[in-house]
């Protein structure tokens, strides 16, 4: 580890029209090291790697590879130079075998361009043996596990003789048992002189695997540190930019009557796979109930069933003693305020005006928003209402006629929160309401949620962010493979216990004693 193999200097990337994704970032990577790039969502770690790989083009800045200035116009050029990237989503042809997938695009050919199958298979086999990957070159990709598919993706790049491997959140798709195996293989690659850059936001695995760590925040590089000389806490602090608050600031409050509950809610998808199994939960007035879980364990299905987007095959949904299981969406909206996790897909129509986004749902439920018995829109009232949200939720907006997408992410979320909370419903469903927001906006959203709790609303908060749940929830339920596996008051649990439940679906044995 003497001279850096890659040097990135003052990289600036602005996404049109004006989102600064990388703000003069400089970083260097040594030959044969494992280098982690960490940061929160939207910190710019993926963008930095995409610039290196040629998928995005920087507005300014320079990249040196082995001391030669390079500019990768596309991924093909990057691979030709020896820089390869494995994406989060695995892009292979399921019907093809492992070796066929690996040689695809770089086939050894014989007479008349015919693929030399024997040579191709042997070449792949020798690579598998060289790196001890424990893969059968003849099995079909559709028959092998996700972890093995990831190996195929890595092999695909090794087959093209790359010297630098970029991995985008490689552990996100793996089960906890598969992670050590991947780490072992990555270390072996590094020992063989390959440079490994990997993006992650799991601090523990970053500390375990990497030699050096680059921390990014809001498009800027904060620091590059040796893994040996740092700790999880200091990394977290650099990532978030302040001391991470684990303590909550809520005032104790005795919850009231049960406002919302589900009984044995069960849902099957189109392939008849059970996605929700006997979900029974209740939320009381003035209570925030959190649902923790790794994404994809039934949260989406639960939300869809509650909102009437999917039909459960069994069970009941009740708000204030009204059975809403089979109610139309509009009927549900009299009782449920809903903030979705995806602002642009579910929470707003981003190309329409702020005004048109604000009056959604109100236009059907509140007669003040229309004239002539609901036939004609009342623009005057809608404008007044928009101004009210602008003031009450401290939104920075120009004219209400501007497109919704002209607002920043935080302001978009404030407008959505304003619209939903002013529906004045007894129950509020929040699905990852702070996803992709900056720290200041997150704080604001949390304060607003706590204020709603003070107004005796019943609140269900679905979140993948445990810190968030511990900060504001009163009770945490854990969802695992479509089942609620735990229901714990926040005061009687801790992050480690919930984290274990999320990953394993059951309590750690002797948790209290060994920790």
């Amino acid at each position: 580890m003497t001279k850096p193999i890659i040097e990135m200097k003052n990289i600036i990337k602005v996404f049109p029209p004006n989102v600064v994704a990388l703000d003069s970032v400089s970083a260097d990577f040594m030959q044969g090291e494992i280098h982690a790039i960490v940061g929160e969502n939207g910190a710019g770690k993926s963008t930095l790697m995409k610039v290196l790989y040629g998928l995005e083009h920087a507005n300014s800045g320079e990249i040196f590879f082995q001391e030669v200035k390079i500019e990768n116009k596309n991924a093909g050029e990057a691979i030709a130079r020896g820089i390869g990237m494995v994406h989060q989503e695995i892009l292979l042809i399921p019907e093809y075998t492992v070796w066929e997938n690996i040689i695809l695009g770089e086939e050894p050919t014989g007479l008349f361009g015919k693929i030399d199958q024997h040579a191709a298979r042997e070449q792949v086999k020798s690579r598998i043996d060289e790196f001890q990957f424990n893969l059968d070159p003849d099995s079909k990709v559709e028959d092998i596990s996700v972890a093995a598919r990831q190996k195929v993706e890595i092999l695909k790049l090794l087959y093209r003789n790359v010297s630098v491997l970029i991995l985008d959140e490689p552990t996100a798709v793996l089960t906890p048992q598969e992670i050590p195996q991947l780490f072992l293989e990555l270390r072996r690659l590094a020992k063989n002189g390959k440079t490994i850059l990997f993006i992650s936001h799991h601090l523990e695995e970053v500390l375990e695997l990497s030699d050096r760590i680059t921390v990014m925040r809001k498009g800027a590089k904060i620091a590059t540190v040796d893994a040996a000389n740092t700790s999880k806490d200091s990394l977290a602090q650099m990532m978030v930019g302040r001391e991470v608050l684990f303590s909550s600031q809520r005032i104790e409050q005795i919850p009231g009557e049960v406002v919302f509950n589900t009984e044995n809610l069960s849902f099957r998808d189109a392939n008849l796979r059970i996605r929700l199994e006997n979900v029974s939960l209740s939320v009381r007035a003035g209570e925030i109930v959190g649902i923790a879980g790794v994404e994809g364990n039934g949260q989406l299905e639960l939300v869809n069933c509650m909102m009437g987007m999917s039909k459960p095959f069994q069970g009941k949904i009740v708000v204030n003693n009204c059975d809403l299981t089979h109610a139309e969406i509009l009927e549900r909206r009299r009782f449920i305020s809903f903030v979705s996790q995806d602002r642009s897909k579910m929470g707003a129509s981003i190309k329409d005006s702020i005004l048109d986004n604000v009056r959604m749902t109100h236009h059907r439920l509140n007669p003040k928003f229309t004239h002539w018995k609901g036939l004609l829109l009342n623009d005057v009232y809608a404008r007044k209402f928009t101004a009210q949200i602008e003031k009450a939720f401290a939104v920075v907006m120009g004219s209400a006629d501007n497109e919704f997408r002209s607002l920043s992410g935080g302001n978009q979320q404030k407008v959505i929160l304003g619209r939903e909370l002013l529906l004045d419903t007894p129950f509020i469903l929040l699905d990852q309401p702070t996803r992709g927001l900056d720290v200041g906006s997150i704080e604001y959203v949390h304060e607003t949620i706590l204020k709603m709790r003070g107004q005796n609303r019943a609140i269900l908060l679905i979140s993948a962010d445990l810190e968030e749940l511990f900060r504001i929830a009163d009770r945490i339920l854990v969802i695992f493979r479509g089942k609620i596996v735990a229901d714990l008051p926040v005061a009687q649990t801790n992050i480690e216990q919930i984290g274990y439940l999320m990953l394993e679906g059951r309590e750690k044995i002797n948790a209290a004693k060994t920790d």
Binding site: G347, D356, M360
Partner: protein, 345 residues
């Protein structure tokens, strides 16, 4: 709005320029050609009246496509809906005889019912069998084509004629002509005004617009998107049907073979050029009508064949549609480049 106007006018000018190059390459004088073209479509009462009259089916079918596309349904059945509207109005005109005050509105209503019935069929197939209206409306175009051809060849065939056509409808159903101007323009403007008002000011129009942009958001917000879908299909079918009825009532006063011409496909093209904007549809409809109307005059005065107008139309579509996207990208790029420079210093 301003950006749209600039990119539209710039697009048309560039397209005319490209058209001029094509003409020069073929040895024609572009100035005299364009002069003849617009002389015969815009200068003077009669050319202007003809342009306006010809614009009616273009604008109404364009409006039908614009409203449909902007609200979600991909209704491409304007040609069939136009023919069905024309057929219904013709049948009404052949078998009924009322005073004009009643007759004209009744025939217009029949035309709208004919078009709405045809698009409603596609809507029902979507609701019952989950068949995509993109396919079914196209297929129904063919059926309408042959159904009307059969109708004017056999059951309501004019026995004195030598080619498939119906007898003339009752003169009480003819649209009155004021000076040079046919009143079909008035009917079109009323329809445009109603649709514009509904689309931009009514609660229903609001839900259509939002559904067209983001149907999941609209659904979660409590809009009844299935019901809205059917309504939009019926309304846009009725608009195309009205276009058909007006073609019969303003023009030959009978249904003859090839009546629909290319009106409906040109209308769809106008909707695309106007990016589904209603006012844009009106303006582009008038402009395309002036090109088509002037084409014959151009052919008369110069040696340029009238088919050249089709080339010109195609160039306009390409330049305006491509230019719209390019302009946005250019503007965004300039902003981001400026921002990058700020951060570099």
């Amino acid at each position: 709005m301003q950006r749209k106007l600039i990119s539209g006018i710039a697009g048309i000018l560039i397209a005319l320029f490209i058209g001029a190059i094509i003409m020069i390459a073929q040895g024609f004088n572009p100035l005299t050609t364009y002069g003849a073209l617009f002389n015969y479509s815009l200068i003077g009462l009669f050319p202007l009246a003809t342009t306006l009259r010809n614009s009616v089916p273009l604008i109404l079918t364009g409006l039908s496509a614009s409203v449909a596309f902007a609200s979600g349904p991909v209704n491409l059945g304007q040609p069939g809906q136009l023919l069905m509207g024309a057929l219904f109005a013709t049948i009404g005109g052949l078998y009924l005889d009322l005073p004009p005050v009643l007759m004209i509105p009744l025939l217009l209503l029949l035309a709208m019912i004919g078009g709405a019935m045809w698009s409603g069929l596609a809507a029902l197939m979507r609701r019952w069998f989950n068949m995509d209206e993109f396919i079914t409306t196209l297929m129904l175009n063919m059926i309408a084509d042959f159904l009307t051809y059969w109708a004017i060849s056999y059951p309501i065939f004019d026995k004195t004629a030598f080619s498939p056509m119906t007898p003339q409808i009752s003169t009480n159903g003819w649209l009155p002509v004021i000076g040079e101007f046919n009143t079909n323009v008035i009917v079109m403007l009323v329809a445009f005004g109603v649709i514009y008002f509904v689309f931009s000011r009514w609660t229903a129009g609001y839900e259509w617009r939002i559904t067209g942009q983001n149907s999941i958001f609209a659904r979660l917000g409590g809009c009844k998107i299935d019901k809205n879908y059917v309504t939009v299909m019926l309304v846009t079918g009725a608009l195309a049907g009205l276009a058909g009825g007006l073609v019969v009532m303003a023009g030959p006063h009978r249904f003859l073979k090839g009546l629909g011409a290319n009106y409906a496909w040109d209308g769809v093209m106008i909707a695309v050029v106007a990016n589904n904007g209603l006012i844009g549809t009106l303006l582009y409809g008038l402009f395309f009508s002036s090109l088509q109307t002037g084409a014959l005059g151009m052919e008369l005065i110069t040696a340029v064949p009238s088919e050249f107008i089709q080339v010109l139309q195609a160039v306009i579509v390409l330049v305006v549609v491509a230019g719209r996207g390019t302009l946005d990208i250019l503007i965004n790029k300039t902003i981001s480049r400026r921002k990058a420079r700020e951060h570099a210093t």
